[in-house]
């Protein structure tokens, strides 16, 4: 399964100069999991440097966000249903798991929320 919205992250984020600026002190790698599909996203100075599709024999990520395809699909709706409209909502209602060292995520929470929101209008999977 190709998760098109994951693959669109680089294009969507990097054209948003204000969003990149907000992440200017952030360089990290994180994993997005959509059902069994895994994407490793590298951020350098707020810019998405690369998006690599797994599976990875060894994945070097700092934190991971894992949810089902159905949960991500609802999250990506223009107006998602209550409980799927925000990663913290999905966390509380157990639609999403956060793993690893959450420091990059929590210290840049508004940035990451807007990174994920940037692909809201994209096709979900192919």
């Amino acid at each position: 399964m190709d998760v098109l919205w994951c693959e669109m992250l680089k294009q969507k984020v990097n054209v948003d100069e204000r969003l990149v600026w907000r992440g200017r002190h952030l360089s990290t790698s994180f994993l997005l999991q959509v059902d069994q599909a895994e994407y490793l996203i590298q951020i350098v100075d707020g810019r998405i440097a690369s998006v690599k599709k797994g599976p990875f024999p060894i994945a070097d990520w700092v934190f991971a966000l894992r949810a089902s395809e159905a949960a991500w699909a609802e999250f990506l709706q223009p107006i998602p249903k209550p409980g799927f409209h925000d990663v913290m909502a999905m966390l509380k209602l157990k639609h999403l798991k956060m793993e690893g060292d959450l420091y990059p995520l929590m210290s840049h929470l508004l940035y990451f929320k807007d990174v994920l929101a940037s692909v809201r209008s994209c096709e979900v999977t192919a």
Partner: protein, 302 residues
Amino acid sequence: MSQNTTSQNSVTHDRTSAQVYVEPIVGRYMHLTLNGQPHRVYVEEAGAGVPLLCLHTAGADTRQYRALMNDAELLKQFRVIAFDLPWHGKSSPPEGWQNGTYRLSSKDYTQAILAVADALQLDQPIVMGCSIGGRIVLHLALEHPERFGAAIGLQSGAHVEPYYDLEWLHRSDVHGGEIAAGIVSGLIGPLSPAQHKWETLWHYMQGGPGVFKGDLFFYNADGDIRDRVKQIDTKKCPLWLLTGEYDYSCTPEDTAFLGKTIEGVTWQIMQGMGHFPMSEDPAKFLTYLKPVLQSALRARIT
């Protein structure tokens, strides 16, 4: 703060020139003794009539009620009053604050509200609070029903389990304002206007270090009232509850539990709205609130 001051101000709150609009809100500082210590507390108000005492959410301040205090229709019937809790907004922390950690308890919160109501000589006010304010109105309705004519809880729940490590809210290596706004941003309904969403987040970004976290001690631990809400007597203090559909902190299910448990309570879920109805989408919120206020006026115990 006298009624006279407010009525004098109302003369000037229309447009004084093409560019300048002066709001009817008047703010003052009040010196009170709370918890045995002197405090400087900021109080603001607008309008004249039945006192409506408004309580802000955790980590925020009175600016959340800016739209209510500028609604001409509301101000004809109500004296709308809000104050910043100590440590919040323009209220100072007590002397020596730098040597301790702020934690809001049910007792201190109740005492602050009663002290402000006493200082303003409010006669059977309608008390309305949101989030932690929506929780404390349950405590007030239960423990001090004789002091209030009615109560309105916004985003009221009897208890909330923390769903993330609260330590993130107060760390020297994480910007407190940015993390507070990041934590609460999803609590705002996705249909709420961007202007009001970001105004609401700005208030969170301006909170002092550890204040939001200290308020959550009441919200997540000390203020748990699940075992006692059944004892609230709505004949002594009529109670209304309004909760936003998108709130995952105090959920519609949490409010429904109160609706089923408290005899005589009236509750409603506000479609499309989140955790900060009066601040995130004031115009829509007022369409829900105004009928409730009219009911509260009729039912108010005097």
